[in-house]
Symmetry: C4
Subunit: 257 residues, 4 copies
């Protein structure tokens, strides 16, 4: 295994697909949106991405089964009146180093561009660190036309306020060099819990932008399940934190073997 | 010297070997288990691994002799009723950077797969940060069959609780892409001393899983020796810590030469 | 996208150009100087530099439009009595890793050397952490002749006091290996706000060194605009800080997806 | 500029040279020893090493002249009764990343091995963090014969106490793979000032090991000069520290340009 590669699961043909990115980030906002769409609309996984720039670890699922670090591409056939298909990217991690992020995001953009993607939305949360009563959706776009369209859908445009960090930002930047227009939608969230409210707010805007219909009621249930799973995880968080403090090699310096 | 390479010490032929990994980690749990097996069963070193992704340093042994950073492969002929042989991996360090960990673990998996390995166990500790009365053994597996088998041997399956960091996790993840099944066994340990009790607990489970017999009494003696050596080391730990705080280059900024 | 590359915008012919670097740094000192020169003298952008060693993110401008990380080369025709042209380098970021800095700065030096550059000035701030009444200009040079010239223009020579970190230093060091002489000019600044006074002090020295005329009155206005923009940004800084604390992958360890 | 390379200054022929390393480290201990030998014995610089793994910066000397990051190889003809020559390595920095340290130290070992080096000494300090009345010299060796010889010269052998970090350790480890024997000598030092006493202690042992004569009186003077230069530097240390806290890119997030 060397670098970053994509493992095809199924060959698919897609019509002018729109690309939607929701890799893990603050408050699980983007992830909940994407998982809801994937499950409610029966999106199909057609490819996986692996990279040596992912964190060197594995996850354990709720049944004690080991799950490697990966990103997953789902496709979704055209919905409602639109004739365009969709590619949705989810996963359990992002790249660690800057160079790794560029390599991974560059591979992703090359891959989706190969399917004719010319428009994209990246989803995430924008953490306030404070309770949020009615979450706003913040946004930014690669063109002023799209920025205008966001405003029409009650998105609060961000304004020279610090940039968009990680895959949600970098994918848009790399897309620009390929002539792909796009926008980032960020749900306002305290940021320290699984935030279904922020996700709902983002999903509503996204559905309007895509002119798509979807029942959002079950998103709350899904968030609840995630919360339960995480509460279990938090019991063991202390342990994890401690294991993380043992940097390999550094540990060796303390205990000689 | 460039990248990661394996230096062969002896050519060996192994029959369907099972791979056991015990690189250094929390509480020396895995390391004590592997060293006990190696010494009690006269396992033989047949290869060493060196890497430019190891920490840039050397160790000093109890006689003032310098020892480079390395991982070591031992082989062990079939034991008891089983006809299968074993490859045991120990060492004094792990890779430092994520990319380095992937390179090293990838090289390890390619190497052991070349001997026909299709099953593996990775050993470690799971730190609680608190006194542990009777250490449990925690585990996770790459398949539900193996997870079930762990449960039968009184292993507590981990459950969506934060992943397995470092070589113990990554080797299992990389093994999955080669069709190698495996499990991680982690002895519950406070984590801040050499924990022979946690090691014994892990060794007992491992012996049952491998249907192997082995006197575990001497493991306590071995732990005692290690503790003495480390107690000496701790006297000088303060010094080491200080040297570690001198990042090369940063130091230069403070004292101009 | 792989490594570091330069995208040409316009072919230009330049006469013995002097290279001026003002990438972002403490107190915006160099940046304000360069932006003032670019706007007042109608310098023209002729090339952009992109790199996978830039931070993996994008910026959002005051209209909610996304702007990728990049460095920008402007050219300026000879001014006043001098017959020499100028290349001015500005941008919204520097490389992150040491290796990345070397790659980017090496690419920059190769590029400008191709235009016949044999003299360069790098501009920045020197933070005191304390209020500064009348900002001094500190400097260092690659030759004693140039150091002497700096002294004649009331530059305080730095003296074995800790080096010049980042592009402003490294470009001079790499230039030396190509026989390019140069100096660094650093305006004394508290360092925690946009410091037009420090910029003015640097600009005055630079204009004298280049024997160039330029109205510096508008620099204060430009600084004021930047301050307003940043004050908005600071309202959201808290949020940004929090997002930054979410290291990808680490986050995954806390919330399992 | 790419990777690590050596720039030859003069071709030299050396007879079975012994290699002495004294790159910057704690308390300037090794550096003072090497500089004293170089100046008192008129050693001649014959090569320089540059690397993209050095910190991305330059130093400024006491006259405001910029000095790039580099390591320097000096040669010294046979002294006293020995017929063997010497290669002495000094410099103003070490590599930053682990991979960089391996690349740089690997290049160094290849280079000196090309001159027939089969024995080496690496010099440094061992910081106690506490006042030291009469500094001991600590040591470790690659062979038990050499360890024995160190003991005969009143070197206190280190013992499983945490390893030797950085070039002083790694060079010995890499040398072992080439059949080069060697030892590390570390002068006991509080570590927070230029420690001529520790240097003298190391120098005395080294001279006995090399059967070489050298007046050590001037070492104290040299230390005094270095101290003065550094005291000036400390006045500006605060500033340097602040500049160092501005990580490129991170800064951009706070002040939008």
């Amino acid at each position: 295994m060397d670098g970053t590669f994509i493992k095809m699961i199924k060959d698919v043909e897609l019509q002018e697909p729109i690309f939607i990115e929701a890799l893990p980030g603050i408050g699980h906002v983007g992830k909940l949106v994407a998982e809801h769409m994937i499950h409610e609309l029966d999106a199909e996984k057609f490819a996986e991405l692996y990279s040596t720039s992912f964190p060197p670890q594995v996850f354990v699922d709720e049944n004690g089964i080991i799950e490697p670090m990966k990103n997953e591409f789902y496709c979704l056939k055209s919905q409602g009146e639109s004739e365009r298909d969709y590619i949705i990217l989810v996963g359990n991690t992002q790249g660690l180093s800057p160079e790794g992020q560029y390599e991974i995001c560059g591979t992703i953009m090359d891959f989706v561009a190969g399917y004719g993607v010319n428009e994209m939305f990246t989803l995430g949360g924008l953490g306030t660190g404070q309770p949020v009563e009615k979450p706003k959706v913040f946004g930014a776009a690669t063109t002023s036309e799209l920025a205008e369209k966001l405003k029409e859908h009650e998105v609060t445009l961000r304004s020279a306020d610090g940039g968009i960090i990680g895959a949600s930002g970098l994918l848009l930047g790399l897309g620009m060099t390929k002539g792909i227009t796009g926008a980032c939608l960020m749900g306002e969230t305290p940021g320290y819990f699984i935030d279904a409210d922020a996700s709902k707010a983002v999903l509503k805007v996204l559905l309007k932008l895509l002119e798509m219909d979807l029942d959002i009621a079950k998103l709350e249930e899904r968030a609840e399940e995630t919360r339960k799973m995480i509460s279990k995880a938090q019991q063991m968080e202390k342990e994890v934190t401690e294991r993380m403090n043992i940097v390999p090699g550094e540990e060796d310096l303390r205990y000689i073997g």
